[in-house]
């Protein structure tokens, strides 16, 4: 018995204007009378219109899953199922995309076909954590939808108090500014900790994100507990001939305004012969000059990453940015990437053992202090970890001499390398 297409005068107003409209897409699905999803989408449109009328949401959570997994499905049950019965169940599958979010058209079509048979026909590319969100299946459809996606080579992402789906930038696939193999790092790290994603039992969520340089296109610094940002340890590269071309095109004034004066550490100068002077010791690899003069400037050869830990949003103590715990880790060989995955695993384990319930990594570090965290992980302190040394004298320094000794030993060891 077919349900009726609801009147949606408010949603209809979101079909106007030049930007693509999700409402138009939903209506198209709703009017697909011969498809199994049409009644559900009609009902969904009715409930969404009701939300627009009353300015309230009407979904509640629950417990629904697929075999073998304790996460990855976002259960939704309608609180107004009496009025909109066909969409009383409206669960989402979070599915991890290929690293870097690359798709062949065959893959997109296969995913559409699966979702045409087993879901609502609505897919979001992508959610804020980086999942493909297959939105809206009823409880019965979930297992079949997952099985087909799983056979296609795809796996569920994270939800709840576990390891979450990750993101990496386009990086090495298309960007000359990339300082490591982002998708390799992401797969190495995430795929070695899948148990904590699929059967979550951490104090709270744990996110890792991978950006190939300081531009941080996947917002790792703030939006992940474990942020891997590409950088390099040697000198940045300057093609002086191409730099001179820029000077000729842009003019000296604009080079000074847009490049030299924008350098945060005053590491650049425009020489009298229109070449660029770089003080690489002052350079912090912020990427600004490289972004502006893409043909002339590029990262150096000794590439790797800086690792920041503890970024998160508001709940509960307020926003935290990640902060540096590893100033530089080389990422070149397979062993380097294994080391990165090992560190991520140890950070996650430390978090699992030491965080309080519903406490994020950054909040745990705020509570116990960065030094306790570093000592727990066996990471050496480094002045790159602070904006400046402490300003408070409330600290016990009885072991000062031993700490100085540690520093001296590390310096000697580094000099001997």
């Amino acid at each position: 018995m077919a349900n009726k297409m609801p009147d949606t005068p408010l949603l209809d107003q979101l079909e106007d204007g030049p930007w693509p409209s999700f409402v138009t897409g939903l209506k198209r699905l709703a009017q697909d009378e011969d498809k199994q999803y049409a009644p559900m989408v009609k009902s969904l449109l009715g409930q969404l219109e009701h939300s627009y009328e009353t300015r309230k949401g009407y979904w509640k959570g629950g417990t629904v899953g697929v075999r073998g997994y304790g996460a990855g499905i976002i259960p939704r049950f309608s609180e107004v199922a009496g009025k909109y019965p066909e969409s009383k169940e409206f669960h989402t599958l979070r599915v991890m995309p290929p690293a870097g979010m690359h798709y062949s058209t065959k893959l997109l079509r296969d995913m559409c076909d699966i979702w045409e048979r087993n879901g609502s026909g609505l897919i979001a590319f992508h959610g804020q954590s980086g999942d493909i969100m297959f939105q809206a299946a009823n409880t019965e459809q979930l297992q079949a939808a997952f099985d087909e996606l799983n056979d296609l080579g795809f796996d569920l992402g994270g939800a709840g108090a576990g390891l979450r789906t990750s993101m990496s930038c386009v990086g090495s696939a298309r960007c000359e500014q990339s300082c490591y193999d982002e998708s390799k790092a992401m797969r190495e790290v995430i795929n070695s900790m899948l148990d904590d994603m699929h059967r979550p039992s951490l104090p709270y969520k744990f996110k890792a994100k991978f950006s190939g340089c300081a531009n941080d296109c996947v917002n790792a610094s703030h939006r992940s507990d474990f942020a891997v940002l590409g950088t390099w340890a040697d000198d940045m590269k300057v093609d002086q001939e191409r730099f001179k071309d820029y000077v000729a095109t842009m003019g000296r004034k604009e080079i000074i305004n847009q490049v030299i004066n924008m350098c945060p550490t005053r590491a650049l100068e425009l020489n009298d012969d229109d070449t660029l002077g770089v003080d690489n010791n002052s350079c912090v690899r912020c990427m600004h000059c490289i972004n502006v003069l893409t043909k002339a400037l590029s990262p150096g050869d000794v590439k790797g990453c800086t690792i920041l830990v503890g970024g998160k949003r508001t709940l509960k103590i307020g926003d935290l940015m990640g902060s540096v715990v590893v100033p530089f880790m080389r990422l070149e060989t397979d062993e380097d990437y294994e080391k990165l995955a090992d560190l991520a695993q140890r950070v996650l384990d430390f978090f699992a053992e030491n965080a309080l319930e519903h406490e994020r990594t950054g909040e745990m570090i705020e509570r116990i202090g960065l030094v306790s965290f570093l000592e727990g992980l066996g990471l050496d302190v480094d002045p790159n970890m602070v904006k400046h040394p402490r300003t408070s004298s409330y600290v016990r320094t009885d072991d000062w001499d031993q700490e100085v000794e540690k520093w001296n030993k590390r310096k000697q060891a580094a000099a001997a390398e």
């Binding site: 949603l11 204007g17 030049p18 930007w19 693509p20 999700f22 897409g25 699905l29 627009y52 300015r55 949401g57 075999r67 939704r76 991890m96 995309p97 290929p98 690293a99 870097g100 979010m101 690359h102 798709y103 062949s104 058209t105 997109l108 995913m111 559409c112 979702w115 026909g121 897919i123 590319f125 959610g127 804020q128 939105q135 795809f154 569920l156 386009v170 696939a173 298309r174 960007c175 000359e176 998708s183 797969r187 995430i190 699929h198 941080d216 296109c217 790792a220 703030h222 939006r223 940002l229 350098c263 912020c286 990427m287 600004h288 893409t294 043909k295 508001t314 307020g318 940015m321 519903h358």
Partner: protein
């Protein structure tokens, strides 16, 4: 009858190589430089000499399978059968021949997909779920974003801003949309309304009490039933108690307002990453088009566009001109609510004699 249930293959994050454009596979990690021939188009040159053009287009993110298949058709016809998506739900088509760029742009534009979002444009708003799917939303996300992107369309398809502008929206104060040059977030203004009949059955009370950032929740017996009560003098109306305890309803059609924040920045480019700061609150949750939000957002964008220097992000511009000038240029009021009194708030105060006149 020994049908064994199919067990999952825990394959994790898939290898992108099988889905990636072949030129990106063959030049992986070996790119030399790039430029932007026009808004919406990137041109990358590999060390091998190979060239690839990327055409970027906006999408509605929540896509029906017809839209996705249409995008796949376009990719098959014009772009070697491969696409990728950005973190902000833009779709990218890669072509190996410059001559195919213009027809691809024409096709996308003709099918209603705006080509842009590159360089110093306003890219697609990153957003959350809202009324469509979330269990705790104060507003809709897809709707706010659609309404705003209609208004900001011209700045998506052009590259005329001082630097890139990243806008986010969030349907509750958890702020899943994240930091933005401009962030549009729900800001509740009244404490939760508690359905005491349901609390003891639905809520793990100690967990709810622990969730409150200002310790305003305590256990109570109400009508003989174990429940929770809120000290409304302490409550900051953040809604943190609502997800673990749905009977503590925080959303309200009138009192859940929208607030505008500016100056968030994720990158370490030039300056350190920065949090966004409150500049306006109390805007009505005026579905389906939220015109009051669009008015404030465009006012801020106009001031930024007219006054920032090349490559200054929103926060860098404001840091240079000072907050008094920001409020002057935008015509927005400065109130007591702009002064931070949360932990660490003292570090946001002006401790110098530097005053803007």
């Amino acid at each position: 009858m020994s049908d064994k249930p199919r067990m999952p293959i825990e394959s994790g994050v898939p290898d992108p190589a099988p889905y990636m454009h072949p030129l990106m596979v063959s030049n992986y990690g070996n790119w030399a430089w790039h430029d932007r021939p026009r808004p919406g188009v990137l041109h990358h040159v590999a060390k091998s000499g190979d060239e690839i053009w990327t055409v970027k287009a906006g999408t509605q993110r929540q896509m029906d399978i017809y839209t996705i298949r249409k995008l796949a058709d376009i990719a098959d016809e014009f772009a070697d059968g491969h696409v990728r998506f950005t973190a902000r739900s833009n779709i990218e088509f890669m072509v190996s021949d410059e001559a195919r760029v213009a027809p691809l742009i024409d096709k996308l534009t003709g099918e209603g997909f705006p080509v842009g979002g590159t360089g110093n444009s306003i890219s697609m708003i990153s957003h959350t779920q809202g009324w469509l799917h979330c269990d705790i939303p104060g507003t809709d996300a897809s709707g706010v974003v659609k309404a705003l992107m209609d208004v900001l369309y011209d700045d998506f398809v052009r590259e005329e801003m001082p630097n890139r502008v990243k806008i986010t929206t969030s349907c509750c104060q958890i702020n899943c949309g994240g930091q933005g040059d401009i962030a549009i977030n729900i800001q509740h203004t009244k404490p939760p309304v508690i359905n005491h009949d349901l609390v003891s059955n639905m809520c793990e009370r100690p967990a709810v009490i622990a969730r409150c950032p200002v310790a305003a929740i305590r256990p109570a017996l109400v009508n003989g039933k174990p429940s929770l009560e809120v000290d409304e003098r302490k409550c900051v109306c953040c809604g943190a108690c609502y997800p673990p305890c749905p009977p503590m309803q925080i959303n309200d059609p009138e009192n859940s307002k929208l607030a505008i924040w500016v100056g968030g920045k994720h990158s370490s480019t030039r300056s350190s990453p920065a949090f966004h700061k409150l500049v306006y609150a109390g805007l009505p949750n005026n579905a389906p088009r939220w015109p009051e939000v669009a008015e404030v957002v465009t006012r801020i964008l106009r001031a930024y566009k007219e006054n920032a220097k090349a490559w200054e992000r929103m926060n860098e511009w404001i840091e240079r001109i000072g907050w008094p000038k920001f409020f002057e240029l935008t015509g927005l009021p400065f109130t007591k609510h702009h002064i931070d009194d949360w932990r660490g708030g003292r570090y946001t105060l002006n401790t110098s004699s530097h005053v803007h006149f």
